[in-house]
């Protein structure tokens, strides 16, 4: 394995300076950020690219949100403070996209949670075909987002799609529906795909939570005559509440930031009916070249996400105090 190697000679010269609590290479002389020279040598090759290609762009991105940066403009970009945000407030496309984004994120997160809780509770029992359900429930996780989008386009395909053919057979519809091009049906249709895509993570986390619920308490409750619902409310739910808060918060943020899946399914159409905030920002930046404006939208999304993280932390804090 090739790597920057610690120089063997230093170990002879340097004396340990105060025994550290955790065992560690004891060649500590001058330290920076808690690292001695060898530590620095080992860490720097990884830290430099991260700083240049993610930390720096991030800072610059936040800054861009306060400028009028545009593609292909000869003039210098200038600092415009909050004028992008004032424009956003006046932009009806932004509000529409924001509304779609919230509907999408809330519906997908809630449905994902309900569906995953049900599935996890089934998988937590001795039940036939459990292996099959377990494997299948992981598969969406293993698929590239682009392929998931294509697969569901095949399902929703107006002429050759599975859904139309099944609904026709059941006589629920009498002519083929073009799901993804319908102004009223496109959003519900992609919400179903969102739920399908995100179920594995949520199910796995809730299942892990369920497996930590104490069997003794369950039995004690049922000996005392508690029904299934009472057992769930009094024993199971309190035990899984912390993981549920964690995973739904994460799910919400992931869904709110969703891009690839919806881009493949509808590209935000028809007429903006599925244009999530990220798609809006992408179009602003790379179709119209309004870098500053798109970055401002990114900053707004950071703020919204920060609110949800704060909410989550508060919840965690309350749970910890109980």
């Amino acid at each position: 394995m090739s790597k920057a190697r610690p120089k063997a000679t230093t170990s002879v010269l340097a004396a340990p300076r105060g025994r550290p609590r955790k065992p560690q290479p004891r060649r500590s002389r001058r330290r920076f950020l808690g690292l001695d020279r060898d530590g620095m040598l080992l860490a720097v090759p990884a830290l430099i690219p991260v700083a240049v290609f993610s930390l720096y762009p991030l800072m610059r991105g936040i800054y861009l949100g306060f400028t009028d940066a545009q593609a292909g403009r000869a003039t210098e970009t200038s600092f415009t403070a909050f004028s992008n945000y004032a424009d956003l407030l006046d932009d009806s496309y932004f509000w529409e996209s924001f509304r779609v984004g919230l509907i999408w994120a809330f519906s997908v997160t809630i449905l994902q949670f309900v569906a995953s809780l049900g599935l996890a509770m089934l998988l937590n029992q001795k039940i036939r075909l459990r292996w099959l359900a377990r494997t299948l429930s992981l598969v969406p996780w293993a698929m590239p987002p682009v392929v998931i989008g294509i697969m569901w386009r095949l399902i929703y395909h107006p002429n050759a799609g599975l859904l139309n053919s099944v609904l026709m057979d059941l006589r629920i519809i009498d002519s083929n529906v073009d799901w993804l091009s319908s102004f009223s049906l496109a959003l519900p249709a992609i919400i179903v795909v969102g739920v399908w895509t995100g179920m594995p993570q949520t199910t796995v986390v809730i299942l892990a939570g369920l497996q930590s619920v104490s069997k003794e308490l369950q039995e004690a409750a049922s000996v005392d005559g508690a029904g299934a619902w009472q057992r769930f409310r009094a024993v199971t739910w309190p035990a899984i509440a912390p993981v549920v808060t964690a995973i739904t918060t994460l799910d919400f943020i992931w869904n709110f930031n969703q891009f690839g899946l919806v881009y493949v399914l509808t590209e935000g159409g028809p007429g903006g009916a599925t244009r999530l905030p990220m798609l809006f920002a992408y179009e602003e930046a790379f179709r119209y070249g309004n870098y500053g404006y798109a970055a401002a939208l990114g900053n707004v999304m950071v703020l919204i996400i920060a609110v949800f993280v704060a909410f989550y932390l508060r919840q965690r804090f309350k749970e910890a105090q109980k």
Binding site: P25, P49, F53, L154
Partner: protein
Amino acid sequence: MERTTSSAVTGLKYLALCAYLVFLAFPLLWLLSTALKTPQEIAQINPTIIPNDITFANFRAAFDEQPIARSLVNTAFVASVSATLTVLLSIPAAYVMARYRSVVSRAVIVWVLLSQIFPWVLVIIPLFLLLRDAGLYDSRLGLIIVYVVWSMPFALWMLRSYVASIPYELEEAAAMDGATKVRALRSVVAPLLAPGVVAAGLFAFVSAWNEFLFALVLIRDPDLQTISLTLVKFIGAEGVARLGPLAAASLVATIPSLIFFAFMQRRLTGGLLGGAVKS
């Protein structure tokens, strides 16, 4: 426990399980079935899940179309180079994170969490400008750099826990037996770290293979496209006749991540350190 209602409850449970199985499995079956059908059958009014006659012509058609074969090669190249670089850069840093009490470790963990919840558009615009100014826009190298940087936090996190699970006593014992530091790292730490390296490498490979947004923004030249981009371009011209090859190509594009997940499932069940130290 409640014996009177138990059979009804069991019935309901199986009903629910069936509903889940249908919801989870049918999209996959449909993809598979479309990939194996003839164009005539795909265009049929009443399509069936099981193809009337199974054909592999769609796979051949997909590979005959130049862009798909070429972009598979492109993707394999970009993904393997970036996975290798990610691992090579991460191993020493992960060692430091596990063995030193340092702010760096905590900073990386915070960074891992942040990168999970960040709206990517905020990073991708400046990154695009940065790479454009450096002459790396629309190049494989630019894409590789981006993939290395973006899979590194998670790779570091994975490798860190693998290093931490290797007892420091092993290194000390090797030193006691007269091995130099380098020797100890190479012949004691490295072999035990191998599964972690494979896991982190596969993770980096698969995330690069599946990635879409960065490729969409950073690659313009059709000759450099990765498979995600090519598949999406493929959708645009969506005649029914093209659905078969599209489904076939999508299945091929899924193979690496399926392998990764199969591998990871075994990893999770298999013990990592199988008796290196008696506790």
